[in-house]
């Protein structure tokens, strides 16, 4: 039975308009016939209880989660300044003029971040879908992955439909957009007032986000021919050295690949690929390489400033999301133009979409315009390629930094330390500048990998030192050559792979699936994501990667000169390193967890969100890791994981999302589930312990990740495998055996054989009792109890 409150299926599809119609019964003028949405019903799965869920439909499920994982708020601001009653001071137990308290205000900010993120992916998906329908037709079939029947697990789960062609995805986006409007409205002054309800709405935004991301990625996979889930995609190159700077260089920045596709097509159609280099920064680069591996990946989002300052690009093309909003000023400083291609990011540029390419090329090449806005992706290719070639000629091959000598610049430093205060990581910039005065560049060199490239140090500097440029120039000789192989994003996980690994994951014998996602706001350099990944790859976890993390994982080599993509295979199996692709490909990660419940466990998928999320929370040892999470999109991606029962670990900067979702492992009453076999409520121990957690150090994160992979459903063998890793990692990084093993060992068979004596001794000290922790058929949903005693 469909729960009350669920949105109805979108009701429009066939529209017939007849200007004039003559029949035996008379003459009709301006006749319009509108027929409701028709889905071909060859899907024999019955509709579940929550298709097209509205804002409140899954509220009870959210509240179950939030009762266990309570928010810990860390306000970034004690004030609310969103209406004219304010500013209102909410410190402590105060309330604002509207009645809101601090907890509600913080959860409101969490919601705002989540719906900004969800909106961003949805807008991306809408642009992508509309364009692809216009270019390839609304009946273009959805073909996502080989050996795969469940083409769109998030859409099937949330919407209860099985999309077959691009036009079916329009309804999905209609639904997502209508829901986001509801969420935005809830954040208005004088609407929602309860922090837990705000949190539930943030979860809703996250769930919608994964649906929207799925729309974006499966539509581009289907229409543009991106890789269809093949494990061993080709190797592309990532890094400065991937770019031949002696040629004209087009630098594409952002996330929406459509303009870049036109550039690649133009190069291909005109046999210019050998003459012009096209590279990307951030997720656009991933999708460019998925489209054509000859496109180069320069690096993650944090490299924007340093790569522009290097002087290597001859033209910058920006699409949307995470682009530096001062890109025009930066480009101007090195004498190159910018082409903006999205209505969401016009940058103040003149709209030249309708002008002839020749005129635009001339104006950009001669510097009459610093940049232009071209909103039709199919007009970007020719303008970009010809402009880059002209600018390259005009520059006469004179690329490189346009700054004075480092020691000369360093000589003007006042030593005030404002740069260090402004730096998100408090890097010792002042010390490095001081050393540079004496021509000792080593400290500057060492900052390169630690710098997140935000440029706040430059803004703070009272003498306007170009600190990012100085750091980059000090590293010029080494960085200019750096390039690494990266396995091109493969997209979805195949159904056949899920069939192979479903059982060992659910029983715990594959100890977990670790998803390395998100941005590049790292606390201690790019190497951490590779270290975390390898720690788990060596232990035969499945590691999935996307976005900037997938790029940075490539940028660490071992003593044999190999990186992780060269050492580990790309299949979704124990010890596999799976690059799914760009941000929107994150939907395949949640999709894989959903498919485990559906394909392996045969749980019905269609409009059946709660049951699938309950299954994942209790059985699938998946953990999301966003070590450098920066954006609102990262927040909404995480929120989609939380509602689905997947814990997320972020780096210390992730604490700036100002709210954690933390379990209290010592409170037994928080860790009870129903045993679906007999309906009894039983204690299962604190697994997984947290839903959203910021680690202070990479070492802390590794230990916590291994612990969060435990689930109530683990078999004895599976729990023993997981405990082996938890204990071993704890000993490695904390220098001791964990003191909370009595909460995770259910019976003696759970204890790793090689650690038995030591663990038993610890358990005895903790007055551990065998079978106090139950091993039920676990569920939080009373309705899933099969038999009651």
């Amino acid at each position: 039975m469909i729960q009350p409150g669920c949105e109805q299926l979108p009701d429009r599809d066939l529209k017939l308009k007849v200007d004039e119609f003559s029949s035996t019964i008379g003459m009709f003028k301006g006749l319009e016939i509108d027929v409701g949405r028709i889905y071909s019903e060859d899907w024999d799965e019955a509709m579940g209880p929550t298709p097209w869920p509205s804002v409140g439909t899954l509220r009870e499920w959210d509240r179950k989660l939030l009762k266990r994982y309570k928010p810990f708020y860390m306000p970034d601001c004690d004030l609310c300044c969103l209406c004219t009653f304010g500013k209102c001071d909410l410190t402590g137990d105060k309330r604002g003029a509207c009645g809101l308290n601090m907890a509600a205000q913080q959860s409101r900010i969490v919601l705002i971040a989540a719906f900004i993120g969800a909106s961003t992916h949805t807008a991306h998906a809408r642009h992508m879908l509309n364009h692809l329908i216009e270019e390839y037709g609304r009946n273009t079939p959805i073909e996502v992955a080989v050996n795969t029947g469940v083409e769109a697990p998030n859409i099937r789960l949330v919407c209860g439909i099985r999309p077959k062609t691009l036009k079916d995805l329009k309804d999905v986006l209609d639904y997502v957009e209508s829901q986001i409007v509801q969420l935005v409205a809830a954040a208005h002054t004088g609407q929602e007032g309860d922090n837990i309800d705000f949190e539930s709405k943030a979860f809703h935004a996250g769930m919608l986000d994964h649906v929207a991301m799925e729309v974006a990625d499966i539509s581009q996979i289907s229409a543009l021919g991106l890789p269809k889930g093949e494990p061993e995609t080709s190797l592309a190159e990532v890094g400065y050295g991937a770019i031949d700077s002696s040629k004209p260089v087009i630098m594409c920045i952002g996330h929406n690949v459509l303009p870049s596709i036109d550039i690649i097509d133009y190069l291909m159609n005109n046999n210019l690929f050998g003459q012009v280099e096209v590279g990307g920064l951030c997720c656009t680069a991933h999708d460019m390489s998925r489209y054509n591996e000859r496109a180069k990946i320069v690096g993650p989002i944090s490299w924007q400033l340093r790569f522009i300052r290097s002087g290597i690009p001859d033209l910058i093309v920006v699409d949307e999301q995470c682009i530096r909003t001062d890109v025009l000023q930066e480009a101007k400083a090195i004498g190159i133009p910018v082409i903006a291609t999205s209505e969401k990011s016009c940058l103040g540029l003149p709209d030249r979409t309708s002008d002839s390419p020749e005129r635009v090329i001339e104006d950009l090449s001669l510097g009459k315009n610093d940049g232009v806005l071209i909103l039709d992706p199919r007009k970007v290719g020719e303008v970009s390629v010809k402009t880059a070639m002209n600018v390259w000629k005009r520059r006469g091959g004179k690329k490189g930094f346009k700054i004075k000598e480092i020691e000369e610049l360093a000589g003007t430093c006042r030593g005030c330390g404002a740069c260090v205060q402004a730096c998100p990581n408090n890097l010792p910039i002042d010390v490095a500048i001081k050393a540079a005065r004496e021509k000792n560049y080593e400290p500057l060199v060492s900052l390169y990998d630690l710098c997140v490239g935000c440029g706040r140090c430059e803004s703070a500097c009272p003498v306007d030192l170009p600190i990012i440029s100085m750091i980059t120039k000090a590293n010029e000789k080494s960085t200019i050559l750096e390039k690494y192989p990266i396995r091109v994003g493969r997209g979805a996980i195949q159904d056949v792979e899920i069939r192979e690994v479903g059982q060992p994951i659910v029983f715990g014998e594959i100890p977990g699936v670790i998803a390395m996602v998100g941005c590049a706001n790292y606390p201690a350099g790019t190497g951490d994501v590779a270290k975390i990944s390898e720690e788990f790859l060596k232990r035969r976890f499945i590691v999935v990667a996307s976005g900037c993390s997938a790029m940075n994982i490539a940028m660490t080599r071992d003593e044999d000169g190999l990186n992780l993509y060269q050492k580990y295979p790309g299949n979704f199996d124990a010890g596999g390193l799976v690059n799914v692709g760009s941000c929107v490909a994150n939907s395949h990660i949640t999709g894989a967890a959903i498919k485990i419940a559906n394909i392996f466990a045969k749980r019905p998928l269609r409009g059946n969100y709660e049951e699938i999320a309950d299954y994942i929370l209790n059985r699938v040892g998946a953990v999301g890791v966003a070590w450098g999470a920066m954006s609102q999109k990262a927040a909404s991606i995480a929120a989609g994981c939380w509602r689905l029962g997947i814990p997320v670990v972020v780096g210390p900067h992730g604490a700036k999302y100002r709210r954690m979702l933390l379990g209290r492992k010592e409170k037994e009453e928080d860790w009870k589930v129903y045993n679906a076999r007999d309906g009894k409520e039983v204690y299962v121990g604190p697994v997984p312990e947290h839903l959203f957690y910021a680690a202070e150090t990479q070492e802390e994160a590794v230990v916590m990740i291994s612990k969060l992979a435990m689930r109530p459903n683990d078999t004895n063998k599976g729990r023993a495998v997981k405990l082996t890793h938890y204990i071993d990692l704890h000993q490695k990084y904390y220098g001791s055996t964990p003191d909370d093993l009595h909460l995770y060992v259910r019976r003696l068979q759970d204890i790793p054989f090689t650690m038995r004596d030591e663990v038993v001794k610890i358990l005895q000290e903790q007055n551990w009792v065998e079978d106090k922790i139950a091993s039920p058929d676990p569920t939080l949903l009373d309705r899933l109890v099969r038999k009651r005693e």
């Binding site: 004690d78 604490a655 933390l662 957690y693």
Partner: protein, 183 residues
């Protein structure tokens, strides 16, 4: 009489109207800690990277353990460094878990004897300490907090002001030496 005064010109990310009082002297910190019935010292993951007059912040923490009234906890994976230095009288808890418990009036503490009434933070990255102190300022009403890090932490109850490295090391040395003494 408050052992500090509000200084509005400190360089910091200011959260709102309620800001930390500046610690005026080592003696005032020592007095506050001695007045507390259950003080807790929290040493962050930067502790081993921050040098003091006679070692690093780990050494300072080890000295503080000499006074049984002081409870010392370290966050991140810093406990490993204490273990390497053969120190057992230090607890370990991850910062988020600790912040979550410090706001809970029913938390029994590391010894099961109840909540702490004063918490002293040192050895953290600026922003992370800022955020956790914000959480405590707003949701652990009544809990007194002190930051001994070198930069002004506006969300603490009391904080060091911005000072030179030399001044900070001297002040810290005095504070530690006074708190080692058993009352």
């Amino acid at each position: 009489m408050m052992p500090g005064k509000m200084i509005t010109g400190q360089i910091a990310e200011i959260p709102g109207p309620q800001k930390a009082l500046i610690i005026q002297s080592a003696e005032s910190v020592a007095a506050m800690v001695k007045r507390a019935s259950r003080p807790l010292f929290v040493f962050g993951s930067e502790a081993q990277n921050i040098t003091t007059n006679d070692g690093d912040l780990i050494d300072a923490a080890i000295k503080l353990t000499e006074n049984p009234k002081n409870t010392i906890v370290t966050t991140g994976h810093t406990i490993a460094e204490f273990r390497r230095r053969k120190v057992e009288k230090v607890f370990s808890m991850q910062l988020m878990n600790l912040g979550d418990r410090l706001r809970d009036p029913d938390w029994g503490g590391f010894d099961g004897k109840g909540v702490y009434d004063l918490v002293v933070f040192v050895g953290f990255t600026y922003y992370l300490e800022w955020l956790v102190l914000s959480g405590l300022k707003n949701f652990a009403i009544g809990l007194k907090t002190i930051s001994l890090d070198r930069t002004y932490q506006p969300n603490a109850g009391w904080s060091m002001g911005l000072m030179t490295e030399r001044e900070w090391k001297d002040t810290l040395e005095k504070i530690v030496s006074m708190l080692v003494e058993v009352a």
